[in-house]
């Protein structure tokens, strides 16, 4: 029986191998197109800074225009004043004007495609992030964003450099989260920009956003064989390709942000001067309490310094010394970094660990770090001596769900009374969801307290976002679907598990011998053999280790009872 199953599997594998297409040439030629989920131009710029010293003239002009813009807006800052302009370009180009409270004052379609995206959406008065999410959702729905054509240009134009950086960063994270929730891989280019007259003229002439215009201008400046006429028609994806194909990636996509930062090199110099020498181990531009800082580490004479340097002024904001050897030298009593990582991944399989390091806090050695899975960020601390979790926190990234709550903050809560002129939030047609995954989990647990939720995921039914999943308690299995915008149960089914399902309960697998032990059993039987494969299996409620072992060119198939360690099957394979 087990044997014929194995044959069946091999035949299946053979069939798949036979019909697997050869796509390597396409993949290699298309890889130019997708160079990463997010390309944060600000960071990219920092990395490239030293290499880059040409095609800059227009950027200097942009800086000059910035001064003019500040003059124009100073002293005119109340509710209806445009504080920031945000544009979103895919092929549809949309320009959003936003006031100081990040509420939309106007949403303008800059081309026909954009008209289609905005059709039926009433964005005025909504929170900027909600609006951006709705727009991205609509672009996906209308087929403008696909996995083949997936570049988005996000441009933030504000006269305050720090603010525009912060907003750019937040929006980029937000767009990425909403793409991820749609299982899309997108490339988000983001730039903060202060426009010049030339760019404005270009934008006006071709009905495109300033952001796209800035790319086009850079491309035309760098390659005179290109004409703005033809470029204006292209999508951001195509423009990105074009720039990359000409080796202009950094010049074109990175030049946009030039605003007065001191640069990583200068920050490094400041840090080294402060420490009186030493070696820089890391530095990156980061946002800290609304201030752009260069955050880094420096080691000198075995002492490690953590620092934050104000990216605009060069002022040292934070300077902390830590004994490096205490920190970095792994101790033999530690579980080790790899083990710590695997503990995290056991908790959230499939997650990406974005940061993990050994730290010593009040004499306690621990691994601390962050991981991300399905837009949820996890922070953890694991005791280095025994692997127990000292901290485990989930943090949902800012998304449309979270924003609906903050929308009405400024207008009290009595929005049931008719206020036709100042209606604070008009919901766009692609309605952001209002309950989180945690809410959904609680709803299920309210219905059946003590149940174990085995599966819970976001799905879309007829364009409507739902949470669907499975749970069980005792021998009853539940399947459910919850409307994500209302929290209503759309589906609730329960089923008594039959005998087959009953062993879905993981309790059965307790008290098994380890794989290493099973190997030992096999090699006792066949000294000097090589185990080709071994794996835990289960059949009719009995756990076994099944596999193949080879010696002197002869292969044997074995089955070891995983509870008792006895050999159940031993077959010579000729």
């Amino acid at each position: 029986m087990a044997d014929s199953k194995r044959k069946l599997e091999q035949q299946l594998a053979q069939a798949v191998r036979e019909e697997t297409p050869d796509l390597l040439p396409q993949i290699l030629s298309a890889r130019q197109l997708q160079k990463g989920r997010i390309i944060d131009m600000t960071q990219e710029l920092q990395k490239q800074k030293q290499k880059k010293n040409h095609v800059r003239n227009w950027a200097i002009a942009a800086a000059a225009a910035l001064v003019l813009a500040v003059g124009g807006f100073a002293g005119y800052q109340y509710q209806f004043a445009v504080d920031t302009a945000v544009s979103i370009d895919v092929n549809p180009s949309i320009r959003l004007e936003v006031n100081r409270q990040e509420k939309i004052l106007s949403a303008n379609a800059l081309n026909d495609d954009a008209e289609k995206i905005l059709d039926g959406m009433e964005l005025n008065g909504t929170n900027l992030k909600t609006a951006v999410n709705a727009i991205i959702g609509s672009m996906v729905q209308n087929g403008y964003l696909t996995n083949d054509s997936n570049s988005i240009l996000l441009t933030v134009d504000n006269d305050d450099a720090a603010k525009r950086e912060a907003l750019q960063k937040e929006l980029m994270a937000d767009v990425n989260a909403s793409l991820e929730s749609l299982s899309m891989t997108g490339t988000v280019f983001s730039q903060s920009l202060s426009t010049n007259d030339q760019i404005l003229a270009l934008a006006k002439q071709y009905n495109i956003s300033e952001g796209k215009a800035s790319w086009i201008q850079a491309l035309v400046t760098a390659d005179s064989t290109l004409s703005a006429d033809t470029l204006a028609e292209l999508s951001i994806n195509d423009l990105a390709l074009l720039a990359e194909g000409r080796g202009l990636k950094n010049e074109v996509m990175g030049t946009a942000d030039e605003s007065g930062y001191i640069g990583a090199e200068k920050a490094e110099a400041i840090a080294i001067e402060k420490a009186g020498g030493g070696t820089l181990t890391s530095i990156e531009l980061d946002l800290d309490d609304g201030i752009m800082v260069y955050e880094g580490e420096l080691v000198k004479d075995g002492v490690e310094y953590d620092f934050d340097i104000n990216a605009q002024t060069g002022e040292i904001i934070k300077w902390e010394a830590e004994k490096a050897e205490q920190d970095k030298t792994p101790s033999s009593s530690d579980i080790g970094l790899e083990k710590a990582k695997s503990l995290v991944l056991q908790k959230i399989p499939g997650a990406t660990i974005t940061e993990i390091k050994l730290d010593v806090d009040d004499g306690v050695r621990k691994y601390e770090g962050e991981a991300i899975l399905n837009s949820v960020e996890y922070e953890f601390e694991i005791k280095a001596s025994d692997g127990t979790f000292l901290k485990w926190e989930e943090e949902k990234k800012q998304s449309s769900a979270a924003n609906t709550n903050t929308n009405n903050n400024n207008s009290n809560n009595n929005n049931t009374t008719a206020q036709p002129t100042t209606k604070p939030t008009t919901k766009p047609t692609t309605k952001p969801s209002s309950i989180t995954m945690d809410d959904a989990r609680n709803l299920v647990l309210n219905k059946v307290s003590g149940a174990t939720i085995t599966q819970l995921e976001v799905d879309y039914e007829d364009g409507r976002k739902v949470y669907e999943g499975e749970a069980y308690k005792g021998n009853i299995e539940y399947e459910f679907e919850i409307d994500a915008s209302t929290g209503k149960f759309i589906k609730w089914e329960q089923d008594v598990m039959d005998d087959d399902d009953r062993d879905d309960k993981p309790a059965d697998s307790s008290g098994l011998i380890t794989e290493a032990k099973a190997r030992e059993v096999v090699l006792n039987k066949l000294p000097g053999g090589t185990i080709v494969s071994i794996e835990l299996d289960e059949d009719d409620g009995i756990y076994t280790y099944e596999g193949e072992v080879r010696k002197d060119g002869v292969e044997y198939e074995f089955t070891v009872n995983a509870k008792t360690g006895s050999i159940i099957e031993w077959e010579r394979d000729d």
């Binding site: 599997e9 035949q11 890889r31 996995n147 299982s183």
Partner: protein, 195 residues
């Protein structure tokens, strides 16, 4: 038993596929931008990726597309890969996310434009080999999870424990579904042989 006639062709199909260490090294090199490493990873994992995509999408053209996107995503994300756990599972997680994304979009499109369900793929049915007939049967008679589990085990060479992790199931759930699926398949194929 008709299986006997095939044993010779199956002699060199060993279970498990490329080693984890090998794949990790390739991913590391892809992260450094080495095109050769990508090509080599592709050769070693293409059938696993294609088979898994096919088991989710049940449509060859879609599976091809997802296969291409998966390798591009691997290329784009390799520098961020954390060498923990099975690298094959990492690649297949990417494939899975992309495939599910595609299913969702297909649902939206269908809801919006009332596109008829994609017609069943019947290319090359006449030249079907026995193996292919089994694959076709697997695609037709198995449930969504069953298909994925069988494909992951048979073609991708993942262990049940890894499959459970990848699909978010318990180990015992994966195992019982796997056995049920193979039993179903055997029964169906047995029926065809005799009928």
């Amino acid at each position: 038993m008709f299986f006997l006639s095939l044993t010779s062709t199956l002699g060199n199909t060993k279970q498990g596929g490329p080693s984890a260490a090998e794949l990790r090294e390739l991913i590391r090199r892809i992260g450094l931008g080495e095109e050769e490493a990508l090509a080599s990873l592709y050769e070693q994992t293409k059938s696993a990726v294609y088979g898994f995509a096919l088991s989710i999408l049940k449509n060859r053209a879609d599976a091809e597309e997802i296969m291409q996107d998966t390798f591009l995503a691997v290329d784009a994300n390799a520098d961020r890969y954390q060498p923990v756990g099975s690298p094959m599972a990492w690649i297949l997680t990417i494939a899975r996310n992309l495939a599910y994304g595609r299913l969702r979009r297909a649902k939206w499109e269908a809801a919006e434009e009332d596109i008829p369900e994609e017609a069943e793929d019947t290319t090359g049915l006449s030249e079907q080999t026995e193996n292919r007939m089994i694959l076709q049967t697997a695609l037709q008679v198995l449930g969504d999870e069953e298909r994925q589990i069988v494909m992951l085990h048979a073609v991708s060479g993942l262990k049940h424990r890894e499959i459970a992790q990848l699909l978010g199931l318990s180990l015992s759930g994966t195992l019982s579904k796997y056995h049920r699926a193979l039993a179903k398949l055997q029964k169906q194929i047995g029926g065809m042989k005799h009928g």
